[in-house]
Structures are given as structure tokens and as C-alpha cells.
């Protein structure tokens, strides 16, 4: 009688503690993949950054581990009352609008402005509340200076107000498989069609082509 419960618990732990277990769980978030041995980064690659980030599964990483597959990146914060829910909603709509084949070749990346309140636990709760798939969504937090630097690279301006809300640029960035900015969509209008077109082109020559092959 106790076995099924034990197995459920074990697989739950595997998902949460993905770094420790290389079992071929299809629900391994993009941040937990092994970095690909692809040589030096290109001059324009954001993956040159040395800053350390923590994911909602409490994994410490450099952005370079995301190399190999295009990323759709949005900077946000979990307690945002205005635009972020719409930005994330747009991303989910974008995900559903993709053909299955494309969806398995693209990751989504949410990075928080809110170094104080967006702890890994808060990000995990955000993931669950918004039903962001484990296999292709990464949620990250970082130190204040590192967030400022990343935002600077993405051309995103932000400022924190007295209530702890952030006023910030609304930008969706598409990174190619090498971590270079391939496309940016400004504003809250839905830009899915153009983004999908860009992703179709980028995935044609990505180093980590399909979702299923990567769990090896």
C-alpha cells in the first residue's frame, strides 16, 4: 500500500531537485539541463555574463546553461499589479499558438526585477498559480546589480517606487540559441505572429533541436 505513495513522493522530489537526479524525467526545467560543450560564446551573446541566478527550483546557474535553444525572455515581478500579468498571459497565448513541433524547440524565460521579494519559493508559487510548464519555462531571480546589468543589456529601464512596485519597460526579447538578441517586441500589444515567424527561423539551426532528445 505504501509503495505508490513513496514513488509519487520520489518523483515529486526528482522534479524539485532536478540537479541531483539525471533520470529521464520529461519535466526537467530548461535551467537544469547540462550546459552544452559548444565552445566560446559569440561577441554579442548575453551568455558571456558571469552573474549567478537562482531558479524557482533553487538551482544556481549562469545564463549560459540555457544555450542551445531559443529563449523567449520577459523581465517581470511576481507582485506586479498592472502589465506583467498581461505580458505573461501574452506569452502563454504565444505558447499555445505555436505548433507542437515548434513548442518543443523553444523555452520561455521569466526573470524578476524584485530581488527582495521574489525568492525561489515566491517564484515557484508564481509558476504553479500561472500553470507554467516545467519542461520549457524557467523562472529566475538574481542580485540587484545583476538584474540592473541584464536589464541594461536588454535595453529595459525600470525603477522601484515607494510601495515596492516596479515601473518598467514592457519588452519581449527573443534570444537565439547562442544567447544573442534576435528580436524585441515593445509594448503590450500581442506580437505573436512576428515572434513565431522569428522562432521558426531560429529553431531551424539550433543546437538543441527537440524537447525529447535533450533528456539524455
Amino acid at each position: 500500500m505504501k509503495w505508490p505513495f513513496f514513488i509519487t513522493l520520489l518523483s515529486g522530489l526528482t522534479i524539485l531537485n532536478c540537479g541531483a537526479d539525471e533520470a529521464k524525467s520529461s519535466a526537467k526545467p530548461p535551467c537544469c539541463r547540462e550546459a552544452l560543450p559548444l565552445g566560446a560564446y559569440t561577441d554579442q551573446s548575453l551568455y558571456q555574463l558571469d552573474s549567478k541566478w537562482t531558479s524557482d527550483v533553487s538551482r544556481e546557474l549562469k545564463l549560459g546553461v540555457l544555450r542551445g535553444r531559443p529563449q523567449v525572455l520577459v523581465m517581470f515581478f511576481a507582485q506586479c499589479e498592472y502589465a506583467c500579468p498581461r505580458l505573461v498571459h501574452n506569452l502563454k497565448a504565444l505558447e499555445s499558438a505555436m505548433k507542437v513541433d515548434l513548442r518543443q524547440k523553444v523555452d520561455f524565460l521569466l526573470i524578476s526585477f524584485d530581488s527582495d521579494r521574489d525568492t525561489p519559493e515566491a517564484l515557484r508559487a508564481y509558476r504553479e498559480k500561472n500553470k507554467l510548464g516545467m519542461a520549457n519555462w524557467t523562472l529566475l531571480r538574481g542580485a540587484g546589480d545583476d538584474v540592473r546589468e541584464l536589464a541594461a543589456l536588454l535595453g529595459i529601464n525600470y525603477v522601484k517606487d515607494a510601495r515596492g512596485q516596479f515601473a518598467h519597460s514592457n519588452v519581449v526579447t527573443v534570444l537565439n540559441a547562442d544567447g544573442e538578441i534576435a528580436y524585441q517586441h515593445q509594448g503590450l500589444e500581442d506580437g505573436s505572429l512576428k515572434i513565431i515567424e522569428i522562432l521558426e527561423r531560429l529553431t531551424a539551426d539550433a543546437a538543441r533541436p527537440s524537447g525529447r532528445k535533450t533528456s539524455q
Binding site: D43, Q44, Q48, E149, A151, N157, Y158, V159, D161
Partner: protein
């Protein structure tokens, strides 16, 4: 005769030193202590306080010079003109230098410009310092010649206004030529623009005179920001200038200075 030849020889040696710079007194070179105080942000949200408290800190008396920056690139080859990664500086980086390690005769004491935010930040941390925040920089720059609030000194206001309405000269003057302000800090106005650590905290679009629909589209929460002091024209110019920058930009009259905590 021999003496004259020696002098000529010495002059030749001095002139041929790359980025030679005259010795300045220690007081001039050192960092200046800025006591704890307040900064009144130009734009603030409806619920934001009118004043932000800034703890005591230190700021360089003058901007970083070409000679200072040369030391840095000597010690950090990855920040040399020919090796810097394009992600961290555009192709104008150190354009005014002769090559990687020669900034040119007579340029040593000029403020270094054509440096990106990333390069400025790297220099500061190499020195064990950091860039000042916008609030810190503005607090120091708000001081006049005789008091911590320059807006009450007509001579100061007129002098600052004159610089902001004059185009930058092709050849920049050396640092420290202007009159020091109340705190003993030089060149905050009248020489160059300066990077701040959070330059990208300016939330304004190119044509933002009021809360527009465009701003609401582009910036989350922007609709709630209002201007604090509509008469402080130079502060508006700095705000607009910062908001137009990208971190990799290098510009002929944009440099920086460092700050550090007590």
C-alpha cells in the same frame, strides 16, 4: 649649453610619455565625503516620498581621466580597444585614443570619454569602488558654490544654465579647471555627462510631456509618475539624456567618476 640640452631632453621625454599628466595635489585627487542628506527625485509616483534619504558616501573629486583609464586597460587586457566584446561597448569605444595603449599627448588629464557603462562599471570595481547612483550624483550636483542647494544661488544657476545650452567643444578641457562646488567636487556641470549605476531607471519616452497612452503601453506603472520640480531644466535634460542611453553606448562627451561607501 649642457644644461640646456638636458632640459630639452627632459621635455622630449615628458612629451613622449603616453597620456602624461601633471601631478595634482592629494586633496584634489582624493574622494570627497558627502554627508547623509536628501535627494528630491525629479519624477516620482503619487505615493512616493518627496525626498529620498541618502546615507553618507564618498565620491571622486573629479571625473576619471584618460591617464587613469590607461592604467586600467593595461591591467585588464579584455577592456582594451581591440579586444573589448561588442556586447559591452559599441565600436566607438576609446575611439579618440591612438591605439590600445596610447591615449595621445596632452590627453592624460582630460576626462576619459567614449566609454560604455559596462567599462565604467568594470573600472570602478577594479578600483574597489562603484558608480554613484543617480540619486547620489544628483544630490552632489545640486550643491552650489556656497551651499548644498545651488538652486538658491543665482550665479550658480546662471553658470550651469550656460553650459547646458552650449555644445561640447571638440577638444575637452582638463578635469579640475572649473570651480569646485560646496562639497569640494569638480566638473559636475560644464565638462561632460556622466554614467550612473542606475542610469536605466529613467522611465520616459522620447516625447513625454504628460501621461500618454504610449507610455502606458511601453512602461508598466508609468502613468503614476509626475514631475517634482518643473523649473529645474538642467535636471530634465540629464533625465532625458540618461533615458536615451543604452549601456553599450560610447559618446564623445560622456564619461564617469567613482563613488564608494564609508
Amino acid at each position: 649649453m649642457i644644461l640646456r640640452r638636458c632640459i630639452a631632453c627632459a621635455i622630449t621625454v615628458i612629451l613622449s610619455l603616453p597620456c602624461a599628466h601633471a601631478e595634482k595635489s592629494d586633496a584634489f585627487k582624493s574622494a570627497i565625503e558627502i554627508p547623509a542628506g536628501v535627494y528630491r527625485p525629479l519624477f516620482r509616483g503619487e505615493n512616493d516620498p518627496r525626498e529620498i534619504r541618502i546615507p553618507r558616501f564618498f565620491i571622486d573629486a573629479h571625473p576619471v581621466t584618460n591617464a587613469d583609464f590607461l592604467e586600467f586597460v593595461r591591467a585588464n587586457p579584455k577592456w582594451r580597444r581591440s579586444t573589448v566584446k561588442r556586447l559591452f561597448a559599441d565600436d566607438g569605444y576609446l575611439r579618440h585614443w591612438m591605439d590600445d595603449l596610447t591615449c595621445g599627448d596632452g590627453r592624460g588629464d582630460q576626462p576619459v570619454t567614449f566609454v560604455s557603462w559596462f567599462a565604467a562599471k568594470a573600472f570602478a570595481s577594479w578600483k574597489g569602488k562603484r558608480l554613484p547612483t543617480t540619486a547620489e550624483w544628483e544630490r552632489v550636483a545640486a550643491a552650489g558654490f556656497e551651499s548644498a542647494d545651488g538652486s538658491k544661488e543665482p550665479r550658480f544657476v546662471a553658470e550651469v544654465g550656460r553650459w547646458y545650452s552650449t555644445p561640447a567643444p571638440r577638444t575637452l578641457p582638463e578635469v579640475g579647471q572649473s570651480k569646485a562646488n560646496f562639497f569640494g567636487v569638480y566638473d559636475l556641470h560644464g565638462l561632460i555627462w556622466e554614467w550612473t549605476s542606475d542610469f536605466n531607471s529613467a522611465i520616459v519616452t522620447g516625447d513625454a510631456r504628460s501621461d500618454t497612452g504610449l507610455e502606458r503601453q511601453l512602461f508598466c506603472g508609468a502613468g503614476s509618475l509626475g514631475a517634482n520640480d518643473r523649473t529645474n531644466f538642467p535636471a530634465f535634460m540629464r533625465y532625458g539624456f540618461r533615458s536615451s542611453l543604452k549601456a553599450g553606448y560610447t559618446i564623445h562627451n560622456l564619461g564617469f567618476r567613482c563613488a564608494n561607501d564609508p
